[in-house]
Symmetry: C2
Subunit: 345 residues, 2 copies
């Protein structure tokens, strides 16, 4: 797939695609975890069916990429097991936000949490963002390519219930279009509790903030964040939110603006924004903020739709739409906070 | 004043109060900066007039707390000077977000930026959040108590134009109700440019994310952040934004919910939210996230207004209002992302 997952996103569009199964790259080959994958099963990566899309309707019989690839002898529990099927005392589960995607953007708390975790679980791209000295200190890494956030999260929980201290990671913040909520929902479905696994969320710098910083100061007043992915939210609802936000003087951070499967959403979004805001409203586009392929473009709202066909707009892009007072000065996007109404400077 | 400034806020309500002037606590007493304060003038702290409120209408003759307390012999430029009045080559200006308020919540990039800065400028409470090993490495600290964000920011810029590498700090993120924009606006008013001072914003974890993490996963879907301070934004505009957000299924992060000077805004906000959302809508209140006086309370929307009289709600508090799907489970606030509509788990 050409699309990557955005900071803060957990690959909204991933879940219906066929992706490879998980690869277990950890240093320990005798994992004490529920439904572990085969540490040596890399060959399976590009051919097996995505765990998420093949997940069956019964929580106790799901066959995610991870568990279907499992050959580990030490595993008693299946993915999909309920909490009372695990005999060990549960470990700790921490959802860690990595921030923008370079090690300097991580907080100390995030680093410590990852260093203390026995298992680190995440989407392959996110795991690759973690500094080697951290991943090398983990007993096990469990990563899956762009699919299966449900099975991956369940895997993290099963490993925790089996007695391991587990960190589940994502870029950005675990609360922004990310896995903190799914982890709690799956814990509940397994008859476990957040307290049982001492569940903790370690916040990270969200993509909107990383992109805002790169652009200057576009977000210093009231702001809305909206995802254009209709994988989990119906498009009419997204459209209604866009109308509401654009009518008021919110600045707007748009996540997941484009994928090959739903280019219409982006066009519709541009249309709605133009119905309420001037064509020359400043718009900042940041692709891959903080990563090697970072690209920044300042444009105007009237030009935005055409840029949907440009490589700068994909799932790793966050778009910041100014309000009626936002202006561009010296290549920076500035939304006045209102000081100029009170002070002379 | 009993109110402190919130993470991500730059003390919206501070600017009309009379506060002490600045104190210069740096190790160097011969500062090369525009309009430096007296390093030894601590006695003046609680009696002089706030720089911001006394700021005159002429940029070149303002008498902020800092400059009015100045006795430094090495200073040629006044606060209010334009860029071409400075003879030195400008230094670098970095707006640094400290995150929630404990050192572990800072990013490495923020720490490096502060360690590299010659001068660190900020509101006293924020400067106090910085680890000693960082503040001790700076040539100068310039902090002012709860007032004067305009004069403080101007001071930072003058010090930069005078040739120093300066970091201006705030908790949370510099783009969230904070000083990144004001810094650019003042740079422009002085005839300087962002490029001239190599202006950079170092993002931090915003208060909404710190509070969201503390509460569980309340913000994993589309979210609005709204400040209730009408110091810089007229209250009718804030009310209109609240209506728009509450009508749609946004989760809402409320910043600056309450101050003694404007308790009516909080009441009005609760009234608007209740006009659109059920009385039992979950609400999470986090006071002083990540600080020593942190307090967390889960409640319902119908109880919120009465809590305005409780100490938990003040300017250091962020309030997270759930959408119609948000629920509380095992003392965690969860907003479903929508996975349950696609997957069985």
């Amino acid at each position: 797939m050409s699309t990557d997952s955005n900071a803060d996103t957990d690959a909204d569009d991933e879940s219906t695609s066929n992706c490879g199964s998980s690869a277990n790259r950890g240093s320990s080959s005798a994992a004490n975890c529920g439904g572990a994958s085969d540490p040596n099963d890399d060959a399976n990566e590009s051919s097996s069916k995505c765990g998420a899309s093949s997940s069956s309707s019964s929580p106790s019989s799901s066959t995610c990429g991870a568990s279907s690839a499992s050959k580990s002898e030490s595993v008693d529990e299946k993915v999909g097991a309920t909490a009372d099927e695990f005999e060990a005392d549960p470990g700790q589960l921490i959802a860690v936000g990595l921030g923008p995607g370079h090690p300097e953007g991580m907080t100390d708390r995030a680093k410590t949490a990852l260093l203390e975790a026995e298992h680190i679980v995440g989407y392959t791209t996110y795991i690759d963002l973690i500094p080697d000295e951290i991943t090398e200190s983990a007993d096990e890494l469990y990563d899956t390519p762009m699919c299966g956030e449900v099975s991956r999260t369940e895997e993290a929980i099963d490993r925790t219930l089996a007695g391991n201290d587990v960190a589940i990671v994502g870029s950005g913040d675990p609360n922004v279009y990310a896995l903190a909520g799914l982890a709690l929902e799956i814990l509940e479905s397994k008859g476990a509790t957040a307290s049982m696994v001492d569940f903790e969320v370690v916040p990270g710098v969200p993509a909107a903030q990383s992109c805002g910083a790169r652009l200057g100061a576009p977000l210093v007043n009231d702001t809305v964040s909206i995802s254009l992915s209709d994988h989990l939210v119906p498009m009419p609802e997204i459209e209604s939110r866009l109308h509401a936000a654009a009518k008021e003087s919110f600045t707007i951070a748009i996540y997941n603006p484009w994928s090959r499967k739903r280019r219409d959403n982006f066009e519709k979004c541009c249309e709605i924004l133009l119905a309420h805001r001037d064509p020359d409203t400043p718009v900042g586009i940041v692709h891959g903020a903080g990563r090697e392929d970072e690209r920044v473009l300042l444009t105007e709202l009237s030009e935005l739709e055409a840029l949907g066909e440009d490589e700068i707009v994909d799932m790793t892009t966050t778009i910041i739409v100014g309000n009626e007072e936002t202006y561009v000065w010296d290549d920076r996007m500035v939304t006045p906070r209102g000081y100029e109404t009170k002070y002379d400077y």
